[in-house]
Amino acid sequence: MYRDHSRHKTFTRRALVLGGAKLVLLSALVGRMYYLQVVESRRYRMLAEDNRINLRLLVPPRGRILDRTGVLMADNEKNYRVVIVSEQTPNLIKTLDKLGTIIPTNDYDRRKVLREVKRKRRFVPITVRENLNWREVARVEVNAPNLPGVMIDVGRRRNYPFGEAAAHIMGYVAAVSERELTGEPLLELPDFRIGKNGVEKIQDLKLRGKAGSSQVEVNALGRVIRELKHNPGEPGSDLTLTIDMGLQKFTHERLGEESAAAVVVDVQSGAVLALASTPSFDPNLFTNGIGTEDWRELVNHPRAPLTNKPIAGQYSPGSTFKMMVALAALEAGILGTDHKVFCPGFVKLGRSRFHCWKKHGHGHMDMFKAIQQSCDVYFYDVARRTGVDRISAMARRFGLGSKLGIDIPGERSGLMPTRGWKRAVTGVPWQLGETLVAGIGQGFVLSTPLQLAVMTARLANGGKAVTPFLVKPERGAGGGKSKDAAKGKDQAKAEAATGTGAVGEGENIAAEVAGTPEFPDIGVSKASLKFILSAMNAVTNSRRGTAYRSRIKKRELAMAGKTGTSQVRRITMSERQRGLRKNDQRPWRERDHALFVGFAPVDAPRFAVAVVVEHGGGGSKAAAPVARDILREVQRRVPLGSVATIGGTKVAAASARKRARTKGGRGGQGEGAQ
């Protein structure tokens, strides 16, 4: 035996060392295992759950919008789309070809699909075409066995059944833009649509609802393995408007091709029954993104279809302003209704002449006749005596010259000029001639059709400062007052207070206790109001009235009103001499705006209307017939008994008999309006 012994000794010694080293290394493993699986376990468990679970938000269905009678003005349409899952089809191109023989698809769709396929994972459905009709859906479903990987998917799409007719009220919805992102994850979903204008915008939060969620287990590639939890979310709440869709549609169609605006207001509550602006646009175009061509056409249209003219169009009120001038004079005690002026067709002030619309003059005029026949010379005189500050103050009390707080965006304030205002803004002192011009509602004076309608309502309801609103307040415990309505009321109060300061506290409280007038009194004497209303009655219902031809012949539906014609540009002396005064001789852009404000029925007013036809010519010819038709229609559509429920606010019922007819008796009580 050769010397194996010493080798064995070395081996044994070194084996001990080696074993020890291995033990140390294995201990390190155990230590690491302990650290990962015991010490840090919680953290890693969370990370594992994070890996595994994917939270997906589900877009809740948007609330519907209904008119006062429950007609759908906006709802959600099912949007059928055909999708393809590339991993489920053996030959994508072939399947697309086959699909193309079953439903029409164009090259653009195809290219889009082929592009998306490369970008997305193979199990993600890719949309081939949207908005399939029922026939196409059926065709795809029937052919399903020949179309591997092709499926029908249902989404939702905002739909406005009346399209153009109510576009300016509804506004529209569209994809969320960058600056609308608030960090709410719902807004970041590709299918989510946000209200961009009109009621859709103002009431967006209410209509939106609460996002649902779906917790799904996904694998490392993001493929959904199964759904763990499903929360359908909360659909948006439905919204009821004060609009009467039938009337709205009628009004929209009655305005026709004109560039025009019309507003119908309930005189007791301020509820807006119709608010039309023409020409209009189709809000359905915006839902999936409007095309550049359509957009350009809307923006460049000479008659501005995107402008909401009833609230954002500012016009000289023209002769419809004369009631304000008359009331200002009467209430200030400067002159009486018996004040007389001779109208020779013009009045001289310094070196300039101020003309009456009637070239050869009206002759001897008192206030009643001056309103009836809309004599300009008479009101030059009244304005000169009263002063522009008093006139503006009176007009403000009736809602002109400031925003009324209607619950859609884009309202403008109009303008009621005062001497102080002019000095502050232009630095030039007020000229007396400007007072004269203001006396016939021209010059600096500007108002919106909505303001004119509210002015008329405040005249017709006996001087109550109603404010307009579109969204029916929710019926709550507090007698159905929403925040909006309360705000409107406060504003009306403030206006009344700043307007006169004459509203006695005692009166107001008494009114509240009686529970009838929700709105504060403007503080104009009943006698003056009665006089103005009777003069307005004469405008339409007496032979010499400027709108006699547009009267409503049926006695109980009869309307009262006032015509207005406002010049767009000054008629030069030379034109006047050449006799170039007729509208039809001038280009459209230079023709006068035609206006009419009115209310009906004459004896117990319920509805006020304002119509403005841009460049329509004379108010009596272009605006009064429209107003007449609208007032006739609203009285036909909204029978007496239902008035009390308009707007859900307490409204004076005309009599106990009528109240008894009103279902649900809202407890409205009080004197009928004059």
Binding site: T10, L18, Q37, V38, Y44, I225
Partner: protein, 382 residues
């Protein structure tokens, strides 16, 4: 136990059979069964495609193991160099075939089985080194020029494996050879010299590494820096391990593994899956079994009365240890990701067969523990 009965140079096969270390065999079988279970889970509760094939291979491997164990150890001694040369030839063959193909070539298809010559080389290397160190005396080992031949034995396959390129196997060859050198009695300062030279080689060798290899090493040092790239595997593995906790998520309930967040869960990362489903308890249990195998290995080595057997036993044990350690350390994020399977558990044919082959050698060493072998392979009875 009668001493002289087994000191006979010629035992009958029947005698040898009863000498088989059944305890070790049992432990190996238990580990393999754990492996089948994990492969069954990795396939989402199916024997197909991994578990069933792994079982078949294990059965074949067991037969090989017994056969190897029963073959006279002197036969292995005499044919050690031949086996080494055969393995080397296979490596060259892979190299030639690889030049024809693209990228890394590690397999050789023999029609019915795909062979990984680098795995075979791990066993062949141990045999060759054991034979060499068995032959030379303690005095000769002390002389440096006696170490040139065994160094050459290592260098040749090393270079071939590196060219493949298979960093993991090359590292294993170095480590295992180092252990054999150490156990053969090579002076410690010589290891120091080699280690120093190796360190000096790093900056020179770095440019020769493939980009993905460089990436793996860099990623190891900062896994969170690249969570979607190479670091992803380590991160996900750590998440799986950590989320397993103490008792695990339950068999077939590991979300990381079953939802494919875990890469290579049936091969290199199978321990992660086990630890996710059975927690630290499962991990420690398996580690305990491995330690038992190591203890058997050491005991057999120390008990052998011939240097060849001792070195074989320690070499096989060392290989086994490095497999276990590197694989576990890798999935726990302690060492860079190198493709080292978990012995007896990871799915893979060649590694299973070579492992059982080497266990056969180990048991063979035990069976022939009392045979004293002369320098050139002649037995000498006491």
């Amino acid at each position: 136990m009668s001493f002289d009965r087994f000191s006979h140079t010629d035992m009958s096969v029947r005698d040898k059979f009863w000498q088989i270390n059944w305890g070790l065999v049992a432990i190996v079988c238990v580990i393999a069964i754990i492996g089948f279970a994990m492969l069954y889970s990795a396939a989402n509760g199916s024997f197909d495609p991994w578990a069933s094939r792994q079982m078949a291979r294990f059965a074949v491997g067991l037969v090989i193991m017994f056969a190897v164990a029963l073959i006279d150890i002197r036969l292995w001694l005499r044919s050690a160099y031949a086996i080494y040369l055969a393995a080397l030839a296979l490596l060259v063959a892979v190299e030639v075939a690889g030049a024809a193909g693209m990228g890394a070539q590690r397999w050789l298809s023999l029609g019915f089985i795909t062979l990984q010559p680098s795995e075979i080389m791990k066993v062949a290397m141990i045999l060759a080194l054991a034979r060499y160190f068995h032959k030379i005396s303690a005095e000769e080992i002390a002389r440096p020029h006696y170490l040139l031949w065994p160094l050459a034995l290592i260098a040749l396959p090393m270079l071939l494996v590196l060219r493949q390129p298979d960093l993991g196997t090359a590292g294993m060859l170095v480590l295992v050879s180092g252990v054999v050198f150490f156990m053969a009695g090579v002076r410690l300062w010589k290891f120091g010299v080699v280690f120093g030279a190796g360190l000096a080689m790093i900056p020179i060798g770095w440019p020769f590494l493939r980009v993905y290899q460089q990436q793996r090493i860099l990623t190891f040092f900062n896994p969170e820096g690249d969570p979607l790239g190479s670091g992803y595997h380590i991160m996900q593995s750590k998440i799986a391990l950590g989320s397993g906790g103490i008792f695990g998520k339950g068999f077939m309930l590991g979300s990381q593994g079953h939802l494919n967040f875990l890469p290579e869960k049936q091969t290199d990362f199978i321990f992660t899956m086990l630890a996710e489903e059975f927690g630290i308890m499962g991990g420690l249990f398996l580690l305990g079994l491995y330690v038992l195998v190591l203890i058997y290995g050491f005991a057999i080595a120390l008990r052998s009365r011939n240097q060849f057997g001792r070195l074989i036993a320690i070499g096989v044990t060392a290989t086994f240890f490095f497999y276990v350690f590197i694989n576990m350390a890798m999935v726990m994020g302690l060492v860079p990701v190198v493709g080292v399977p978990l012995p007896l558990i990871s799915y893979g044919g060649t590694s299973m067969l070579t492992l059982l082959f080497s266990f056969g050698l180990l048991i063979g060493v035990y069976i022939h523990r009392d045979i004293v072998i002369e320098r050139y392979g002649d037995a000498q009875s006491l």
